[in-house]
């Protein structure tokens, strides 16, 4: 039996695009250009957002900045208790992170545990000069002392709600929705 879900759209295609445009400018402003700048998207949602940010940045400033893909599964803190093993995706960071400014990109910032895992993974790849965090949605409820440097939208939510970022690349449409079982 499937239970009914209450779905509310909180951001549409244009909203997402404007957020990303602003974040792209903020990244460049904070880092004074693209020198030593690299983007790393967290699988899977973060990767599509990172690709879009890379494109936007390359339009604003000349040249393409490097883009990496990170799967954090092997760094999760709940693996030994997980009944079902998450599907492991490929990590591709084909450039050195030493002395780079890494902007980590994810779709939703929630407990902060994913970001903790991602930072541990990045540090196994080298010694970045700095790691910054960009997210489309910050929904609160942090369980670790982590905050984002660039936020598309702060979205106060309840723990029983699900916040999902749907993107054309994987869901066929761009929107951010809050889902609630009724």
């Amino acid at each position: 039996m499937t239970r009914k879900k209450n779905t509310k759209t909180v951001m549409d295609k244009e909203g997402i695009d404007r957020c990303l445009t602003r974040i792209a400018y903020e990244i460049l402003e904070k880092n004074k250009g693209t020198k030593d700048l690299v983007l790393v998207g967290i699988r899977t949602g973060g990767v599509y957002l990172a690709e879009r940010l890379q494109k936007k940045i390359s339009v604003i400033e000349e040249g393409e900045i490097p883009l990496g893909i990170l799967d954090i599964t092997l760094y999760r803190d709940d693996l030994s208790s997980a009944k079902r093993k998450p599907r492991l995706g490929k990590t591709k960071i084909p450039f050195s992170l030493d002395d780079k400014i890494v902007v980590l990109i994810d779709d939703v910032l929630f407990t902060g545990r994913t970001i903790r895992a991602a930072m541990d993974a990045l540090i196994d790849f080298g010694r970045p000069k700095m790691i910054q965090l960009a997210v489309l949605i910050d929904r609160g409820h942090r369980e670790l002392p982590i905050r984002a440097d660039f936020v598309g939208k702060n979205l106060p939510s309840s723990l029983w709600q699900a916040v999902s970022v749907k993107l054309v690349e994987k869901n066929g449409a761009d929107e951010v929705v809050i889902e609630e079982e009724t």
Partner: protein, 308 residues
């Protein structure tokens, strides 16, 4: 998807979906071995015992490296240096190891079925690293991974397996696996080295190697187990190599882009001529070893903890 199993005992009893899931997971593990820091914290605090009752360099090292790259603690026990030499039975050894709470036991044994016996007696996950002439599932998985990478698929390929089929657990596991994945298998070897029931495995059997490798996409050469020469199953190495050694002459019968595989250790000039073994345009022998670590990392990852 998940690997809904406590143990990996053989390829015979796993499904195509499970094989694909393992290979896909292994594919994601390849990258870790290319990093400068070749280690992820995934299996921190897990203990893996390598219980080897038979000599092994490649497989044991491969399992150990796989476990260490996942941050597990590994302990190697070889029969010659353990209480086995004092006459302890397999089950007693296993019960004692069990009492020390390892998470996975990897076992190689000269008796077919030893891993199955162990799996029924202890609660830990058991991985079969070769049991007698029965199965060597991780070898078949790494072979399938290599073929998939080089050929892009397994379904529809013509794969020739040459040599001592009867005594080869590598051949048996590969025949189970590759036929499941849709390959067409041909085998050739001396009559004394072909199992009697072999055609029932859904494969074509030839007594001439040339016939088996004609048009092949993949040639898998098996090791001649020199320790069996004493058992009179083949008259001489010279005669064997004249009929069944892969060389520049007979390899021309296969497809132009054929790949040559061998589970190692190779007997140069007996089952494979050195110029073919070393020709990296055709030989994928070292790719196999490379894939072995990734396949074993995937299995340790999928089997360690979290069973329902």
């Amino acid at each position: 998807m998940k690997l809904n199993k406590k143990d990996l005992l053989g390829i015979k009893d796993i499904s195509v979906e499970e094989i694909n899931f393992i290979l896909e997971t292994a594919d994601s593990f390849l990258e870790i071995s290319t990093r400068e820091i070749k280690k992820v914290p995934t299996l921190r605090g897990k203990t893996i015992i390598n219980l080897f009752y038979e000599a092994s360099t490649r497989t044991r090292t491969s399992f150990e490296i796989a476990a260490k790259r996942l941050s597990a603690d590994t302990i190697n026990i070889s029969a010659s240096t353990s209480s086995v030499a004092k006459g302890e039975t397999l089950i007693d050894t296993a019960r004692n190891l069990e009492a020390m709470n390892p998470d996975i036991i990897v076992i190689r044994h000269s008796a077919a079925g030893a891993p199955h016996l162990l799996a029924s007696q202890v609660k830990q996950s058991i991985i079969n690293a070769g049991d007698g002439a029965h199965e060597h599932p991780t070898q078949a998985l790494l072979d399938m991974m290599t073929i998939k990478e080089k050929k892009g698929k397994i379904n529809g390929l013509k794969i020739a397996i040459i040599g001592d089929i009867a005594h080869s657990r590598v051949a048996r596991s590969n025949i189970y696996g590759l036929t499941k994945m849709g390959a067409q298998i041909t085998v050739a070897g001396p009559a004394t080295m072909l199992p009697r029931d072999i055609e029932q495995m859904g494969i074509k059997v030839y007594d001439k190697m040339q016939e088996a490798i004609t048009g092949a996409d993949v040639i898998m050469m098996l090791r001649i187990q020199l320790e069996r020469e004493k058992q009179n199953i083949f008259p001489s190495l010279r005669e064997y190599s004249q009929r069944f050694c892969l060389n520049r002459g007979n390899i021309a019968l296969a497809k132009k882009d054929v790949i040559v595989m061998h589970p190692g250790p190779i007997n140069r000039g007996v089952e494979i001529s050195p110029d073919i073994a070393d020709d990296l345009t055709q030989s994928v022998i070292l790719d196999q070893v490379n894939k072995g670590v990734a396949v074993r990392m995937a299995l340790l990852f999928l089997l360690a903890g979290g069973h329902e």
